[in-house]
Symmetry: C3
């Protein structure tokens, strides 16, 4: 292959890697912004931990586990190549991936994805999870569960053989994280004060909405890399289409969530607008390269409605999800995955059933494994802080510091 094309492709993939890395700041800001100031250091610590440990784990084993080069239908884990990775013969040349990128670009791009699944859980369990238990969960979920599911499709496993399509991970990343989040908040229970005695949910307002909004805009920016890089080259036709479908779905999701919540609650709700944008982004992720821009707008519009309903549903179930992770990542992840069978190039009833099968497989495997891991941690180490720690804040108890030492705070 032409050196210019190989180089341009690899440049694009490296930039996309950087953008996906930057999403971690987006997640951090969003989680901080939507929760209380007394748990801010804890959230930052968790997120920084996830990035660093996630990347190291992916280096130690995850990358091999996820892309084992195994035969069709093989389970991946069986061919786990052990600790440490090294570029294979020719891995740094245009021969490696049809000139799309080098082996190390491949590793780093995929490694940045890996941490995302745990970050999604992090937001949902904020303000009452025990740090040690969460770190343990992260290590197992990112180091083992995420690459196993990833191998089913992106590693060339059985879901891939079946014809399942998930372009950049509505299911493989977002639902994997979303299922973990759902099980975790079920096992953890709600924050003190989230539900009144008669079971009515009470809003616990976030303490820094500028950071929450910045988080969403940074995530949108990062999605340029998340979806744009999933083309696995800089092919002008596909990458530019993907950026357009991604952005239009985000915009449509935001507007739709805002309008839906305005009609439902007579309020200009910023957080619903923001979550609508994220819902649109998650939903387009499964088929960003298969959809026309018109399709993308429709998928986004529906995602916005789903977000408003999903947030209400989680409340109704007496689950406490401070950042709306279940509605955004799980429910919209499922919606986006199914949408591949309904809209776009691949749409057909057969494809819809295959998509449903993929959703179902992940819906069986992830909640089960997440439950086993979390239940074991709960049993042996504990996953929830004490009532006193929760009331006074995790920052003081687990970290011995305030996030905003100079500011006077309201007590709650």
């Amino acid at each position: 292959m032409d050196a210019g094309l190989f180089t341009a492709n690899n440049v694009w993939m490296m930039i996309c890697t950087a953008l996906v890395f930057f999403m971690h700041l987006g997640f951090s800001f969003l989680e901080i912004g939507l929760t209380r100031q007394k748990n801010t250091v804890n959230i930052l610590f968790k997120n920084v931990f996830i990035i660093c440990v996630g990347l190291l784990l992916y280096y130690i084993g995850g990358f091999n586990l996820m892309y084992p080069g195994f035969e069709e239908g093989d389970l991946g884990i069986l061919k786990f190549a052990g600790f440490g990775i090294a570029a294979p013969e020719g891995g740094m040349t245009a021969a490696y991936a049809d000139g799309g990128y080098t082996w190390w670009t491949d590793f780093l791009f995929q490694g940045m994805f890996a941490a995302t699944a745990a970050t999604i859980v992090s937001g949902a369990v904020a303000e009452r999870v025990k740090l040690g238990g969460f770190m343990l969960f992260t290590i197992i979920y990112v180091g083992l569960i995420y690459p196993i599911v990833g191998a089913w499709k992106w590693g060339g496993g059985w879901l891939d053989s079946l014809g399942f399509y998930d372009f950049a991970g509505s299911t493989l990343v977002h639902s994997v994280g979303g299922w973990g989040a759902l099980i975790a908040i079920y096992l953890l229970g709600a924050r003190i004060g989230k539900f009144s005695e008669d079971g009515k949910p009470k809003a616990i307002p976030g303490h820094n909405l500028p950071l929450a909004a910045a988080g969403v805009l940074i995530l949108w920016l990062g999605w340029f890399g998340f979806n744009g890089g999933s083309v696995l080259s800089a092919d002008p036709e596909l990458t530019s289409l993907v950026l357009v479908t991604t952005s239009l779905a985000a915009a449509a999701g935001g507007v739709s969530a805002f309008l839906t919540s305005f009609l439902a609650y007579k309020n200009y709700d910023l957080t619903m607008f923001l979550n609508g944008i994220l819902g649109g982004l998650v939903a387009i992720t499964a088929g960003a390269d298969q959809m026309s821009p018109n399709n993308a707008v429709v998928i986004g519009l529906l995602a916005g409605v789903i977000i408003v309903g999903g947030v209400a549903l989680v409340d109704r179930l007496k689950l406490d999800d401070p950042v709306g992770a279940v509605a955004v990542h799980l429910i919209c992840g499922i919606w986006g995955t199914l949408a591949v069978g309904i809209f776009g190039e691949l749409a057909s009833f057969d494809q819809f059933l295959i998509q449903l099968a993929g959703v179902g497989a992940v819906a069986a495997f992830c909640p089960l494994t997440a439950f086993i891991i979390l239940f074991a941690i709960k049993k042996f180490a504990g996953i929830r802080v004490t009532e006193q720690e929760e009331l006074q804040g995790l920052d003081i108890h687990e970290h011995g510091m305030d996030a905003y030492a100079d500011f006077r705070m309201n007590q709650h």
Copy 2:
């Protein structure tokens, strides 16, 4: 064309698109930082609304309206192709734009520009504009006025035929937004407390200067894409020159505004420094590809002086512009447009007159249309919140939430 070159060009244009998108976070941070905390959610809501709706409107009609492929001198609006766009035959190949980018890259890059004009207005009207009225104004101004003016030059219309030069939009983006801002603050009136009874302006301090400064640095970063992408390819010679002229003008603008305000007011004024950087950026935008780096430094130095004078002038006129949008975007936009006739490759007296004609045309069309739109909205729906809402803050009244729920605030 060589596939490597086409791909490298398109990669650059997509990155520039991402950078221009990121400018919206810069604008949001700047507007928040320079205003009071009680209106923060409202500002965030407006900005998120502008991005989403701006992009959708540009998709629905703006792109067609602005680039109609019409005959010379034609008014653009007449050939408005109706709702929805689709890539034309060959639009995704190197044949579309001399190999600079694809049709969808073109749409997204231009779409990110479109929302900017309304964002400029957003800052100026902050803290007292009625949300519904502003949203309506945004829809018309971004969906109709911006593409019409854009078509005059970038769509190949009459200003283009005349020889008017505006590389990346000192006039077509910044002045269009700036005129809207000027008319809007004239019709809105000043914030309560901005002018004492004898007409003296009083500073209403911004509530979050770290975010304001971050906003300006993010905008500077975004300008790498705004100006760098306006080369419409990744041509190494032109793009690298443009980044240098852009950055030097920004640096010179900042230093000059700081020194000017230090001499005038004996104070190290951070906000003046920041607005000087923005003034330099706006001023270089019209001719970033035509100027030598020396020219760029001079244009920036003068922009810094103009900023300090411009802010004082707006105060003198008893207009209330919380973020200095008129001085930055309108006055420096005009300065930069005229500078194309004074410095650089195109400098000549004839060119200066043509530049003046372009400035004049926009100075006739934009204020008039902005006035008509805003006056009609004022008449029928209202553009200003009630005194009570303004005093207590728009966040509580329009959104029912606080931006910083856990923090104790001073009352003002």
Copy 3:
């Protein structure tokens, strides 16, 4: 050379330039976050000043001074070409730098580096340095000292002839800044209240940990450009390896510092985690292109331990470094430079001695010149604010404004 390859290379270098520029926001956020709110405007002002003035100085003279094209062993300063630069014949073509980038890209990329050295000092002297004195120091240190040392190696001077290796500046950037920081905090003295009467250090908590964490993530992102761009082309093999070694060292540094400080102090210390990431980044910088990923992990792990020890050592020496700049930039810079002789492609005892010689040369030149400059400024203009100014905060005294006007603060 093929136009596609030249264009792709130059695109990469321009993006890296943008990322290095963005590091200035990272530094600003980090410095603000780890200090008290009453000095926030001052820190922002210093950082914005450094960016703008640093770039202008590099344009006026620094670039010529640092890359004089002189004979081997020549001192650089002797061939200082005077004020102003212009692209040489062929400087904008692929002939200039083996097709890696154009002359103007070269200038801007190097110019973004130049300001960094002063920014490092800025963090260390925060909260008590006199603004005028600091600005003067910045001008001399960035305009003269940094390019002279840079010329020794990157300009093809005597350290280069000797075989000294410093890929992206563990010594040439970070230690140069770190030595300046060390001398400055020695001459300045500690902040009031930092050491109790019996000499025990007391923690002065930072006021905004979300911004501090964001700063570190932004710096990590920026390092993609700092190290990735130091390849001086987009060569897929080298650039992708460099991003991997950079990211793994950062992750390993963070985890190692967290674990070390946890073992030492039984505390989940977020700031130590963050500084560990930075220590890993600084340490890998000297040899990011020479190390295997395994090497990078080891270098990072050791950097994390060094950070925890380094911070304690600075405290023991009764030096007051609010952001840990000496431990991060100086000590880890030295560690990384020496590591080139221990690990990776160049490792040998001879190379280790050469690396030591380079470290020693900078350890002789920079502290000496920094001392002379700062001592002279101290003598004739003063470098420290009055006790009253320090207690009440530099924002009010030097800038007449609050960073957070609407928030209620604790007094300290």
